[in-house]
């Protein structure tokens, strides 16, 4: 455990030195937040509700979606790809730490650094320029936090599993882009699934993606009944467990493959 804490610490220090990256992400998130705020305001011009949500809740939704997107930054795909391309993966595996443990610790370190560097500025900019993203019901805070944690794990395991494709495909840059765009659409990060046509929304409900953004954000803005939320969280938990098991299995397979290749 101590080893991983050390990796987290180094990663935090590393991230804190790359200042421009940080401002860049704040800038992009600000552009996205503000333009989508105008987009939703134009749509809700006549007031009222759509999909059971009014314009104020929708604005909170997009601000919190920007915040969540920072927590869900993963670098594990890129790391796997690079280590496979450079061939460092074999030596990394000989180190007395688990390969994916390193990647996980690095991503955690990045996020801790970003909480200060990105999340606070985004929240501040969003509050000043759009509206203060107050939670609908503060008593839901514990389940919101729990749900964000689960969504973090779902997202990370998906990314890791995806990155493992680099072991057979070597160059997965284009695939990473495809995954990014598809997840943006089907996770509810840009538009909530309640605006989707029913058949599509009903299928997506059973996939892990809406539980990355949509579920925690719905809890935050207080959409849906208690029962609906708990059902959602059960599915979320189930997906987190399933993906974890698949991840463990795939990790074993990959390790064996590299060991054979490396002699």
């Amino acid at each position: 455990m101590k080893k991983y804490l050390y990796i987290i610490k180094t990663q935090i220090i590393k991230r804190l030195t790359y200042a421009f990256d940080v401002y860049g992400n704040i800038l992009v998130q600000t552009i996205i937040m503000i333009t989508s705020a105008f987009f939703w305001k134009a749509l809700y011009k006549d007031g009222g509700t759509a999909g059971g949500v009014d314009v104020d809740s929708m604005l909170v939704y997009i601000i919190m979606s920007s915040v969540l997107s920072v927590l869900l930054i993963t670098n594990v795909e890129k790391r796997i790809e690079q280590s496979v391309q450079k061939g460092t993966v074999a030596t990394d595996m000989m180190k007395p730490v688990s390969l994916f443990g390193i990647y996980f610790a690095e991503d955690i370190g990045t996020i801790i650094a970003l909480i200060l560097q990105n999340i606070l500025p985004i929240l501040l900019i969003g509050s000043l320029l759009i509206k203060v993203p107050k939670m609908a019901d503060l008593r839901d805070l514990p389940i919101f936090v729990l749900s964000v944690l689960l969504s973090f794990f779902i997202n990370w395991f998906l990314a890791a599993l995806f990155g493992m494709m680099a072991f057979s495909a070597v160059n997965i840059d284009a695939l990473i882009q495809v995954k990014k765009h598809l997840i943006r659409l089907v996770s509810g990060s840009i538009i909530p699934l309640w605006f989707f046509p029913d058949p599509i929304a009903n299928v997506l409900k059973f996939l892990p993606f809406p539980y990355i953004y949509q579920l925690p954000l719905s809890i935050y803005i207080g959409r849906g009944t208690r029962a609906e939320i708990f059902t959602g969280m059960e599915i979320q938990l189930a997906w987190a467990v399933v993906l974890f098991l698949v991840f463990l299995f795939a990790q074993k397979q990959i390790t064996r493959k590299v060991m054979v290749q490396g002699g």
């Binding site: 996205i32 333009t35 987009f39 160059n171 765009h181």
Partner: protein, 274 residues
């Protein structure tokens, strides 16, 4: 006069050769382009699906229905793709400045800016062009557009103008590297801003922002004004058949100004000991 024609002919010859070479790179790296062939269209199809789902739930956005938005979206993606093919290098100009790569171009008897863009044609931009055309054709059908020769001319003129505006903006941003001596890669931010201001009608933004997008950074002319004119949607700045031609004028103006800014920057580069 004769000399000018001869020189123009020379530039044309070189352009044709360069485009031929660019196509050869596709043959060289088929797997690479196959990946982008899937990933780039998906980006725009996802973006378009977003608009479709939302606008169908609400009916319209600022008086634009869903077919009209498809028309706007398609044309905007097409000019984006063209600017990716011919002008994307502007994003990376900073690296050329810092690495001293312009030295190579300076020794040759052709315009530096021409060489910079045309010897680096990014043929992979075609992967963006295809989804653009698809969405545009879909929009034409949804809006029941009458395809007359004049309509085709208007579309072509506005596409050229829009590509020049985008290209001019890339050149301008890239040329700032001559002064800042840094390699800031503006690509991601330019792209994000351009997407949000050309894929949707800018009438949804507050008037101050619309003013900036019309007169200061003329992104509004890339798609919003010409498309409004083509579809007969009223706006408060300029209406009528002439708008696509105004786009071309704005494009020529922007690219000329950026070219001058680049030239001024290049002088600075030369004086830095090269």
């Amino acid at each position: 006069m004769k000399k000018a024609f001869k020189e123009l002919g020379h530039y044309l010859d070189v352009t044709i050769q360069v485009i031929k070479m660019a196509f050869l790179t596709i043959v060289e790296y088929p797997a690479n382009i196959a990946g982008w062939m899937i990933s780039n269209p998906i980006q725009f199809i996802v973006g378009f699906a977003t608009i479709k789902f939302v606008v169908e739930s609400f009916g319209e956005i600022n008086g634009w229905n869903y077919g009209q938005l498809a028309f706007l979206y398609g044309l905007s993606v097409m000019s984006h793709a063209l600017s990716m093919i011919f002008f994307v290098q502007g994003w990376f100009m900073g690296y050329f400045v810092l690495e001293g790569d312009f030295d190579r171009y300076l020794t040759r008897p052709m315009s530096v800016l021409y060489q910079f863009f045309f010897t680096n044609i990014n043929i992979f931009g075609i992967t963006d062009l295809i989804p653009g055309i698809l969405v545009f054709v879909y929009g034409c059908i949804k809006c029941a557009v009458q395809v007359t020769p004049f309509f085709v001319l208007q579309v072509l003129v506005m596409l050229i103008g829009a590509t020049l505006i985008r290209g001019g903006i890339y050149i301008f941003l890239g040329s700032t590297s001559f002064y800042t001596k840094s390699t800031t890669d503006f690509g991601m931010y330019t792209q994000e801003i351009m997407d949000k201001t050309t894929l949707y009608p800018i009438s949804m933004y507050p008037e101050s922002l619309q003013f900036i997008l019309t007169y200061l950074i003329p992104i509004g002319w890339v798609s919003f004004y010409p498309v409004s004119s083509l579809l007969g949607i009223e706006n408060s700045v300029l209406n009528g058949m002439v708008v696509p031609f105004v786009t071309l004028l704005v494009g020529l103006l922007v690219i000329t100004l950026s070219g001058l800014f680049f030239k001024a920057g290049l002088k600075k580069y030369e004086s830095a000991g090269n």
